[in-house]
């Protein structure tokens, strides 16, 4: 046992002496939280709107007025010509255009109907759809205003309640995701790099010759990262709760227990990668290139997994961070207990066991 502690202490020295790596370990999660919390959002703001008003009557002026006070859009130009719209789109400065045909108001008054054209730069489909929706809502608002005079029969109204996140804060969605992502990537990267580096330098053989179970030697490499990850997790949690007003309704104990499980899963994955490559360069490149973007995509906090084609949904089942993301959301935001997440917990347990078994087998083969 004492020897195990000695190994662990050595590993801690390695980690703390490398400042640039510490930058990654702690700096990245903090940077991500700040960015996601304050900078990244799917809402569309400050979008430039171009207006082509051929009507120049009360109705068009009224709608234009509404558009100009809307927070999400800014009226860039009040152009006259249709053909100038394409040029404006090409400069990338304008995202959407609205065209009022001549006689707009007159048509509304006499025929009770009129058409408006909305032209969107759909190179970004998301912005196009969202902006079109904003405009459509504003137009509906105007429509309702001019019909307020006549009461509508058979009115079906809706009462909407937002569960878990009434203020529609973005933090509730991505903070668990950032936790999952950061823990996964950092643990896998660091563990595999640490082990492969010793292999390359040759000091691994020294360790293996010691009268200590070689597999435990390897495990001792993972321990500092386990501790560091818990610290990281705590920092992220504190930042999100106090800086971003993220709610935390569930049991702290359960949260840390599940997080520890997930960290072990990530470390096991790192172990497996390190057992499969002998060159530090390839270990790192595989972890970096092979895992970064898939982890971001398939954890489920950036894009909804349900929308992906089926094969991709199956792939996402294999990514440990996806399961942890569900668990974290359930505990932190929904305030649920183990009863709700036993299935996901089992999956993580299974993954960890599987990864460790394969690593052990590969490791023993190599020793032979």
């Amino acid at each position: 046992m004492k020897q195990f502690i000695t190994f662990i202490r050595k590993e801690f020295y390695h980690v703390f002496r490398d400042q640039k790596t510490l930058l990654l370990l702690f700096g990245l999660p903090i940077a991500q939280i700040v960015l996601f919390g304050f900078a990244l959002s799917n809402e569309i703001k400050n979008a430039n709107l171009v207006v082509c008003d051929y009507a120049r009557d009360d109705a068009s002026q009224c709608i234009i007025q509404k558009l100009s006070v809307n927070q999400n859009m800014q009226i860039e130009k009040v152009l006259l010509s249709h053909t100038q719209i394409e040029a404006a789109f090409k400069t990338g400065k304008v995202k959407i255009a609205i065209v009022f045909p001549a006689g707009f108001n007159a048509s509304l008054q006499h025929f009770h109907t009129a058409t408006l054209q909305v032209i969107a730069d759909a190179s970004d489909p998301n912005t196009a759809t969202t902006l079109t929706n904003y405009i459509s809502n504003i137009v509906k608002e105007y429509q309702q205003e001019i019909t307020r005079l006549t009461p509508m029969p058979l009115q079906v109204t809706t009462q909407v309640r937002m569960l878990y996140n009434p203020e529609l804060k973005g933090a509730t969605n991505f903070v668990p995701g950032v936790m999952a992502l950061v823990l996964l990537l950092v643990c896998v990267l660091m563990t595999s790099a640490s082990i492969v580096r010793e292999k390359e330098k040759g000091t691994m053989e020294l360790l293996l010759v010691s009268p200590f179970n070689p597999f435990l030697v390897i495990v001792s490499k993972a321990v500092p990262y386990f501790a560091l990850s818990l610290v990281n997790l705590t920092v992220i949690l504190l930042l999100s709760v106090f800086l971003l007003d993220m709610p935390f309704h569930g049991s702290l104990l359960l949260f840390y227990a599940e997080s520890s499980l997930f960290i072990i899963t990530a470390l096991s994955l790192g172990l497996l990668i390190s057992n499969s490559t002998s060159s530090l360069q390839s270990a790192m490149l595989i972890s970096l290139m092979g895992m970064l973007v898939p982890a971001m995509l398939f954890t489920g906090f950036m894009f909804p997994i349900e929308n992906m084609p089926m094969p991709l949904q199956w792939i996402s089942q294999l990514i440990p961070s996806k399961w942890y993301y569900t668990i974290a959301k359930a505990i932190m935001i929904k305030g649920l207990g183990i009863a709700a997440i036993w299935k996901e917990t089992l999956v993580l347990l299974g993954m960890t066991t599987g990864l460790l078994l394969v690593s052990l087998k590969k490791f023993n083969i190599r020793l032979q």
Binding site: L35, Q117, P125
Partner: protein
């Protein structure tokens, strides 16, 4: 000049002999380009709806039918009590609950007014907002169809209807990959070139061959060119394979604008990125350090480039960061030239900025790299 030839021959030999590295450079980006655009999709569909029906009337049936017919919603649960539906939301089987009160149909006709109750899982605020809007729109349409059914239009003054005709230019069917593929390609090229270039040089530092080079009369700029050129070529290659092969064959993306313009920008961009890799390698003593620093920057670049979320929506300070990010400019150029056919005049500022980055990173790196310490 001859020296560079020798350097290049050595570099290419080493790169292609590295069995472990080749798949990472060539295969992994292609696979990611095939998978990622399909996954990166903000469309909201297949929302799971759980209905609590206290009424069991023809109206409730019609309403549910029109909801599921819209294509946006899936009926995930049909219960008699709210608790059952709530549990479905708790276990993520359902996203939205629609509660139809008892006597809905009867009371609507008698009292002219009824309320439906909706509860939405709002952990993902955007999804909740959109889902709520869709459901609201469907209910509103349902409302209108009931009205028409019950009363002839002449009995009430028809409300003025403003019809919105929307056209989508450059991407008529709102095909999401058109938007994501160019951006993802940029990210992949960036990752490969920056990581590989910085790791490559640091590796030489670690094993000691760099000392052997430093003791020869090789000029500094020869050595640096010898390191940059191979990865520049590789970057060009990956980009071409990604855009013209995968992009065209798998996604049907045909660049609208000038390919020449695109490649001119790409060349400059690669020089800037490789300069960054070089710069990182002059500060790192070990491969792990180089990797950590490179990873940190790439992550920040990724998030702040407008790839996943629009830059215009960011607060002022974040937009400044995005403006200092070379990736932002290339993604912008890609989307503008490939999808809209923008011309040089439209992107001349981008060119200027990237040239600035290329100059900055490379000069800094060259100044830093000392053959004699």
């Amino acid at each position: 000049m001859r020296t560079i030839q020798f350097l290049l021959a050595k570099e290419f030999r080493q790169i292609f002999r590295n069995r472990a590295l080749l798949p990472v450079i060539f295969v992994v980006p292609v696979i990611q380009l095939l998978i990622m655009p399909l996954a990166a999709n903000y469309e909201v569909k297949n929302i799971n709806l759980s209905v609590v029906d206290h009424d069991h009337s023809s109206y409730s049936r019609q309403l549910i039918a029109s909801i599921t017919a819209s294509g946006y919603f899936r009926l995930a649960g049909y219960n008699n009590g709210f608790t059952a539906s709530l549990q479905e939301v708790e276990t993520d089987k359902a996203d939205i609950i629609l509660e139809i009160p008892a006597g809905f149909e009867k009371n609507l006709v008698r009292e002219n007014k009824q309320s439906l109750f909706i509860a939405i899982n709002a952990i993902n605020g955007t999804k909740a907002g959109l889902g709520g809007n869709y459901l609201g729109a469907i209910i509103s349409n349902f409302n209108n169809s009931i009205r028409l059914h019950w009363q002839a239009p002449a009995r009430w003054q028809p409300a003025p209807v403003i019809e919105l005709r929307s056209s989508n230019w450059f991407n008529t069917y709102l095909y999401y990959p058109f938007f994501m593929v160019p951006g993802i390609l940029v990210v992949l090229v960036t990752m490969v070139c920056t990581y590989m270039c910085s790791l490559n040089i640091v590796k030489e530092k670690e094993i000691g061959t760099i000392e052997q080079i430093n003791v020869t009369p090789i000029k500094k700029y020869h050595f640096i060119l010898g390191k940059l050129i191979p990865f520049w070529v590789i970057g060009m290659f990956i980009f071409t394979a990604g855009l013209l092969l995968v992009g065209r064959l798998v996604y049907g993306i045909v660049p609208v604008g000038s390919l020449l313009l695109l490649y001119a920008f790409l060349s400059l961009y690669l020089i800037a990125l490789l300069g960054l890799g070089l710069l990182i390698s002059t500060y790192a003593d070990s491969q792990q350090q180089a990797m950590s620093v490179a990873f940190f920057f790439i992550m920040i670049f990724l998030l702040m480039s407008g790839l996943f979320t629009p830059i215009e929506s960011m607060p002022g300070w974040a937009r400044t960061i995005a403006a200092c990010n070379p990736v932002t400019y290339f993604i912008d150029v890609m989307r503008m030239v490939v999808l809209k056919g923008s011309s040089f005049t439209d992107i001349r500022v981008h060119f200027l900025v990237i040239a600035g980055f290329a100059l900055l990173f490379n000069s800094w790196a060259v100044l830093n790299y000392k053959k004699t310490s």
